[in-house]
Symmetry: C2
DNA sequence: CACCGCATGTAAAACGTTACATGATTCA
DNA sequence: TGAATCATGTAACGTTTTACATGCGGTG
């Protein structure tokens, strides 16, 4: 499962609590994956059971104890295995395009405009978010991470261009 | 659920069997949605139970009867409702970017090359598929459908460009 | 005999929503 | 002072998706 591997990958960067992971999903990797809290905690529990991570409880003053998860050797092996496995087929899921594909039947040009406008707003918000994520320049790892971000940005920009073109054509 | 709505949308174009729908998912709408057979049949059964589609059995010579599904008034209403509902948040799921994000830890430039090459092949195949899909020019509906396809094509092309750039930079 | 057209069934894995709990701290 | 937010986590329940297997009557 990809979520397993992504969690392992994040924990390989540094040990984290479930809470930390949630923030990582909402920040660093938001442009290619999302996961909600309960999903993260459940997965973490399973990874622990499977011996891929272990937990160290770190007391804090004035805050709940941190349950820090870190990779075991088995976890590192699992991550490597995933990185070397073939890519799964993509299965796109784009509700926006789904709507656009069928919205013509409503015979309502304003509805089309509204749909495009809604999407444009979402795209702009996303672009702003991505542009605020830190770009670090450094070794191979850092450059690859930046590249994933760059791809996200290019994609949103391409979408905005496409929207311009489409709105002009209608 | 979006799959419900997409099936309703397709059936609104013309009545279809589950089998026809599967082909539609693998062809016409492949660039923004995928569904497997069992999922389609199960969903059709549910839609029928809910009174959103009904079935007419059409005998054929030398082949199993066709179970043609067509929209009821309720089904059309449901489709309209979906088309007018707000867009859900996107939750990206891109295993490729996930791997790229973490693959640096393997300290293996060849592995990176292989990953990019694998992706490039997939992108090229996808581009070929999309370019072979028919583009119809006509009324609003037709133009919107072409636009979804155009977006798919632009996206893959942007990805190929990004791959060029990235490979050159490494 | 393999494949097409057409479907059914079942189980497991994955994902999401909602609610709850607790002790700081910050902000109006 | 009271409300909101942060930091951390648990739990129950429901929905979605995936994977895989099976059946049957043609046709080339």
């Amino acid at each position: 499962m990809a979520l397993d591997a992504l969690i392992l990958g994040l924990l390989d960067l540094r040990p984290m609590t479930g809470y930390d992971l949630k923030k990582a999903f909402d920040g660093t990797v938001a442009h290619f994956w999302s996961a909600d809290q309960s999903q993260i905690y459940r997965t973490l529990a399973r990874l622990e059971q499977d011996g891929l991570v272990d937990v160290r409880v770190v007391p804090q003053a004035g805050k709940p104890d941190r349950r820090e998860h870190r990779l075991t050797d088995g976890g590192r092996a699992r991550l490597t295995e995933w990185l070397r496995s073939p890519l799964p087929d993509e299965k796109p899921r784009e509700p926006f395009l789904g709507k656009l594909f069928f919205v013509g039947r409503e015979e309502d040009p304003e509805l089309v405009q509204a749909l495009l406008a809604e999407r444009r707003n979402a795209a702009r918000r996303l672009l702003a978010t991505l542009e605020n994520l830190p770009v670090v320049d450094g070794d191979l790892s850092a450059r690859l991470r930046s590249a994933t971000l760059r791809k996200g940005i290019l994609e949103v920009q391409a979408e905005l261009t496409w929207l311009d073109e489409l709105e002009a054509a209608l």
